[in-house]
């Protein structure tokens, strides 16, 4: 019925349409060879890698710039990149030797001083970089000949992991142009050169044939910003886009039947979890037995199979196996509603009611599934959905008045337990609603030493405490989901990077 009406309606506009179709022109984005078109959900906030640190920005700019270090796409090991080698001189001092054969797109050579400038620029408070916190452990950074020396405040086990994210900018060009102009017309040394940024709509890049790693196979790329998922799917189906990112499990179901398309997925270091308010006196979740009861009451496997359609791996703790420090020996919690009821009975809280705070940024179906599971064991759940900015303000408020339970998906970008456990569970940190001096001691000890064995031991201790005290329940390891034309050869990996140089057109 709807469709026939639509046809009639379209007839009405036919004359107008025909006129426009034939009069209209849209020029091809770049050259004659096929340019890779990528649909992102939101526009890059900036192309200056010293500024905004969000996926939509670095998905684009990491193709324009080279990073100091790199992760091997397969093994995820940290490997040399702009720095050809490095050594730890003492507890606090690191030296990086910079390659001599890298040139920026404007022809100038990349020097050690450019690397030091890239770090010091972020550390300069007046630059207002949201990335400041990633590097605030650095006390000094100096260049001499081809060596960059970095000193940290305390021994830092995560320094190298952070430097994987450091893009090197050309000092001379940035100083000549100023920050604002540099952001609009970025010059890097990466495999792709910046061409044009149509604000709000798209960014064009073209291959840097002189890149030190060799000429990239794909001649150019257009990153398009398409906030609506259904529109991104239409773009892919109509051939306007070759790859679309930021999909969910329901989106990709519809694409699987299309023979010309492929669904690409990869487990990431993002972990989904439920976190309890263990500090507020009026919260039923202050009692450890209530927290344990909830942990036993949730059917995590059902959530992963039915809601995520299998795009998730169950985890036993709030960390994924991809991160350093993951402890496979932790017992975790099985689905056991009877045990949950018994624990509630012991706690004398059989008909308890709790508040679940959430924001539209999280999958509401998961929140509702948890509500349903808890109702089965006699826990009433009131869902309180607030807008993201208010959500952050409320849950991060030291007053801890946000409710009793919340859902989250966490990634620290360093693939290290430190970046997850400290912000979520250490006493007094931003996201923590838990306080335990033994846990703090273990986390502090692991944070200030670079010896891997000692660190693993401390994290093992930490996970034991987390298993006993249950300040949170690990739910699953999250997947990235994207879809692409079958012509494209690409395998997304756990670090959620988007390096066009790793992609190819099939012959």
């Amino acid at each position: 019925m709807k469709k026939s009406k639509l046809h009639r309606k379209s007839l009405l506009f036919l004359a107008l349409l025909c006129a426009c179709v034939f009069a209209g022109s849209s020029t091809p984005a770049l050259g004659t060879e096929h340019v890779l078109a990528i649909d992102l959900a939101t526009e890059s906030a900036t192309l200056d890698p010293g500024l905004q640190y969000n996926t939509d920005s670095y998905t684009v700019y990491r193709n324009i710039f080279d990073n100091l270090l790199h992760r091997d796409p397969q093994t995820l090991e940290i490997i040399p990149w702009v720095a050809e080698s490095w050594e730890q001189k003492d507890e606090l001092t690191w030296a990086f030797k910079i390659r001599g054969d890298i040139k920026f797109h404007n022809g100038e050579s990349l020097k050690a001083s450019d690397v030091a400038f890239s770090i010091n620029r972020i550390l300069d408070k007046s630059f207002r970089s949201p990335q400041y916190s990633n590097y605030s452990q650095i006390t000094s950074c100096e260049a001499e000949d081809d060596i960059v020396t970095i000193k940290t405040e305390a021994p830092s086990p995560t320094l190298l992991a952070q430097l994987v994210n450091l893009s090197v900018v050309p000092e001379k060009y940035v100083l000549e142009q100023g920050n604002e102009k540099f952001n609009l017309n970025p010059v890097g040394s990466g495999p792709y050169k910046f061409v044009n940024w149509q604000k709000g709509s798209q960014i064009e890049l073209t291959a840097n044939d002189e890149h030190w790693k060799g000429k990239p196979q794909i001649v150019g790329a257009v990153f398009r910003f398409v906030p609506n998922a259904a529109s991104r799917i239409a773009d892919l189906q109509s051939g306007l886009a070759d790859v679309i990112l930021n999909l969910n499990a329901d989106n990709v179901e519809a694409l699987k039947s299309d023979g010309a398309l492929q669904v690409l997925s990869s487990p990431t270091e993002r972990v989904a979890f439920l976190l309890f308010n263990c500090l507020r006196d009026s919260s039923p979740t202050k009692a450890v037995n209530v927290r344990k009861a909830i942990a036993y009451a949730i059917d995590r496997e059902a959530i992963v199979t039915s809601l995520l359609r299998g795009y998730g791996n169950l985890v036993k703790e709030v960390l994924t196996p991809l991160s350093f420090g993951y402890d496979d020996t932790v017992e975790g919690f099985s689905y056991d509603p009877e045990k949950a009821k018994q624990l509630l009975k012991e706690a004398g809280l059989e008909n308890v009611s709790i508040t679940f705070i959430s924001s539209p940024a999280y999958d509401q179906r998961v929140v509702q599934a948890v509500q349903g599971d808890l109702a089965k064991v006699g826990i009433g759940v009131k869902i309180n959905i607030v807008e993201q900015a208010i959500y952050l303000k409320t849950v991060q408020d030291p007053a801890q008045e946000w409710g009793d339970i919340r859902f989250g998906i966490w990634s620290s970008g360093t693939m290290d337990a430190h970046g997850t456990l400290v912000p979520l569970f250490h006493t007094g940190t931003l996201w923590s609603s838990f306080s335990n001096s033994n846990l703090d001691a273990a986390l502090d000890a692991a944070a200030k030493i670079t010896d891997k064995e000692v660190r693993l031991r401390e994290y093992k201790k930490a996970f034991q405490i987390l298993q006993e005290e249950v300040p949170a329940i690990g739910l699953w390891q999250n997947y990235t989901l994207s879809a692409a034309s079958k012509q494209l050869e690409w395998q997304p990996n756990a670090q959620e990077s988007f390096f066009i140089q790793d992609m190819k057109w099939k012959d």
């Binding site: 939101t42 900036t46 905004q52 259904a230």
Partner: protein, 293 residues
């Protein structure tokens, strides 16, 4: 100024841009440093006074997220909104008034009955529905037109039809009602008695007399469209003010939101003023009445 004040306080009291900007594992100390650099740690009344001081100098500030002057950002986006608004307006005015006139003239005939379903569809279907249906047909099935983006005239067609589909219906209804009222007036009978045909009567006499309510509606519609069409712009990834507004609000990019609100208010007032001027041109009696009063 009233609008700016409301927006200023509503925004500042409802969320903290710094929390949205920093990586999730940033510490409180790191956030305080950024907050200080952005001037957000000062008392609210000082920020408020400063906002108006800067405003009086024409400085609307820098976007927190993009780190660029907000006026530059609006200047880039506004032309897209204008382009989309004008195209949608053209389609809706031409189609809406045409259907309205035809329905009035052929009242109760088969022609009117044929148009009724379109009016109903236009009134019932929300923009996201019309938009997605158009994309499925013209982009995915026929591959005639691009589904998203803003490159060339081709990409303007689907969003403008989507946007217009909402106002075609209301314009057609208003036109029809006013035409019917005018067609029963004495001057129409006189004209008929003098032997004038229907086309001549409608074009030379009735439209001018039925014009004022239509102009009012078109004026309101224009102001609305120029403020940015959030849903349509989102579906078609059209980089206009609507999309920018949503992004700025979600990021609590205070200076950008304030500038957009101010800008859209000025446009609203300007368009309403122009509409009033248009009344005088269409119907000279309005001016005379004012003068005699």
């Amino acid at each position: 100024m009233g609008i700016s004040t409301i927006v200023f306080f509503a925004l500042h009291l409802s969320g903290d841009p710094v929390r949205l900007m920093v990586p999730p594992d940033a510490t409180l100390k790191d956030m305080d440093i950024l907050r200080h650099e952005l001037g957000l740690d000062r008392p609210l009344y000082i920020q408020y006074v400063e906002f108006f001081e800067n405003l009086s100098r024409g400085d609307l500030g820098h976007s927190y997220v993009q780190n660029r002057p907000v006026l530059d950002i609006i200047r880039e986006r506004f032309p897209y909104t204008v382009r989309l608004a004008l195209a949608a307006l053209l389609i809706s005015v031409v189609t809406g008034i045409f259907i309205g006139i035809v329905n009035a003239v052929f009242r109760g005939k088969w022609i009117e009955k044929m148009f009724v379903p379109f009016i109903l569809i236009g009134q019932c279907l929300p923009a996201f529905c019309v938009g997605i249906l158009l994309i499925m047909l013209f982009s995915v099935q026929l591959r005639w037109l691009p589904s998203t983006g803003a490159r060339g005239l081709k990409s303007l067609i689907l969003p403008s039809i989507t946007l217009a589909s909402l106002s075609i219906a209301s314009l057609a209804q208003v036109t029809r009602a006013n035409m019917l009222e005018q067609l029963e007036q004495n001057y129409v009978r006189t004209a008929r008695a003098k032997g004038a045909g229907t086309p001549r009567i409608v074009i030379w006499h009735v439209i001018r007399n039925a014009g004022i309510p239509i102009i009012t509606l078109v004026g309101l519609e224009t102001a609305n469209l120029l403020g940015g069409a959030v849903v349509t712009e989102t579906i078609f990834a059209w980089p206009g003010l609507g999309l920018l507004t949503i992004q700025a609000i979600n990021a609590r990019d205070f200076p950008l939101v304030q500038a957009i609100v101010l800008f859209v208010s000025i446009i609203f007032i300007a368009v309403n003023f122009l509409t009033d001027l248009l009344y005088v041109i269409v119907d000279p009696r309005i001016k005379l009445e004012k003068e005699s009063a």
